[in-house]
Amino acid sequence: MVDRPLDESDLIERAKRGDTSAYAALVRAHQGLAFRTAYVIAGNASDAEEATQDGFVNAYRALGRFRRGAPFRPWLLRIVANEARNRRRSAGRRDALALRAASEDRPGDAVPSPEAALLSEERRTELLAAVNRLREEERLVVACRFFLGLTEDETAAALDVRLGTVKSRQSRALAHLREEVEP
């Protein structure tokens, strides 16, 4: 097929050969999620923005080590998230990011969700408060999996932990939430 749009692995192969316009297309495709992931980890927007930018620059320079055919998103998120963690660490911040529900009148700021309308305002507030009371490591897994929509593999890469750790933290987090918010 002549008119087939370039798929991601084509773009990666071209970027590996130094084609920065191919890499620009990859940046465009992934910068939103990369930034959101960095934000959840770094805890503020300016660090997240720098981490996203540096992460993409570092990822480009490390493309030679990227295994052909491997999924790009977890590989990229690991690099960006690592930048975000370094910033948070060097700023000496210990306080966790408190997640807030997006207000209804500013849909542009929210992670769009088809089910949003199904949840009452009261229930959203209650759930989110319970999430914010979780231990940091569990809250991060919940944020990656359910608020950012990352897969378990992507969550493991972003948080730099093993897949099994993601699964166990997630099940512990859900158990804690059930105790707190379910009647």
Partner: protein, 215 residues
């Protein structure tokens, strides 16, 4: 609705996403990738950030790594006193082996061996010396090369190597010296650095003549 579905439905407030594409591209296009930038010798900018750079120093154009040597290309010619880094004290081969904690690559002929902590230097002949030390990833030696210095990717018996031709500054901790032509290669957990009045071919030949079971 399950708890998982409810969590997905919350809709968390997140800041507006910035468009970083233009800034990322601007940074990539300054130091262009060259064909000799092979995977074994990739720029590890994350590690590079371990070294603080004084604001006044010229902008760094490129960072390369081989073994535990980091090479930075700068816009201006670096300056320092010519000569080797401190060699340490003269030792026997036996003492050098104990100090290095790696399997030393031993030259067929050499005039003397020096050890400065785990850094072992064989003086092969006047103005030619071979430094060997443990380390294959974390930068231990740092080099700054100016625009006139040539860097070539090569290999020593199949192992990745770099040839740096022309004056450049080598740093180890606070020590800095002006070095000349250097061949750097790495094998298992060791980094080797042959420096002196040699051409590239001569340097590779010396490197390949070293005796050691793993190198």
């Amino acid at each position: 609705m399950s708890l998982e579905q409810e969590l997905r439905a919350i809709g968390v407030e997140l800041p507006a996403e910035p468009d970083v594409q233009a800034r990322v591209l601007a940074r990539l296009e300054r130091p262009r990738r060259r064909p000799w930038l092979v995977p074994a010798v990739v720029a590890l900018a994350v590690v590079a950030s371990l070294f603080a750079i004084p604001q006044t120093r010229a902008a760094i154009l490129r960072v390369l790594h081989i073994g535990s040597v980091e090479i930075r290309r700068e816009e201006t010619e670096p300056r320092a006193t010519p000569g080797p880094l401190p060699l340490g004290t003269r030792v026997s081969l036996e003492q050098a082996r104990d100090a290095a904690r790696i399997e030393l690559a031993v030259p067929r002929d050499y005039e003397a061996i020096y050890a400065d902590g785990p850094f072992v230097t064989f003086v092969l002949r006047p103005r030619v010396w071979l430094l060997e030390f443990r380390g294959s990833g974390f930068p231990i030696l740092r080099k700054e090369v100016g625009p006139g210095t040539r860097i070539d990717e090569t290999s020593v018996g199949g192992a990745p190597a770099m040839w740096v031709e022309g004056p450049h500054v080598v740093f180890r901790g606070p020590q800095r010296r002006l070095a000349g032509n250097v061949l750097i290669w790495t094998r298992s957990d060791a980094t080797y650095r042959l420096e002196g009045a040699l051409t590239q071919d001569e340097a590779v030949e010396v490197a390949q003549s070293l005796s050691c079971t793993s190198c």
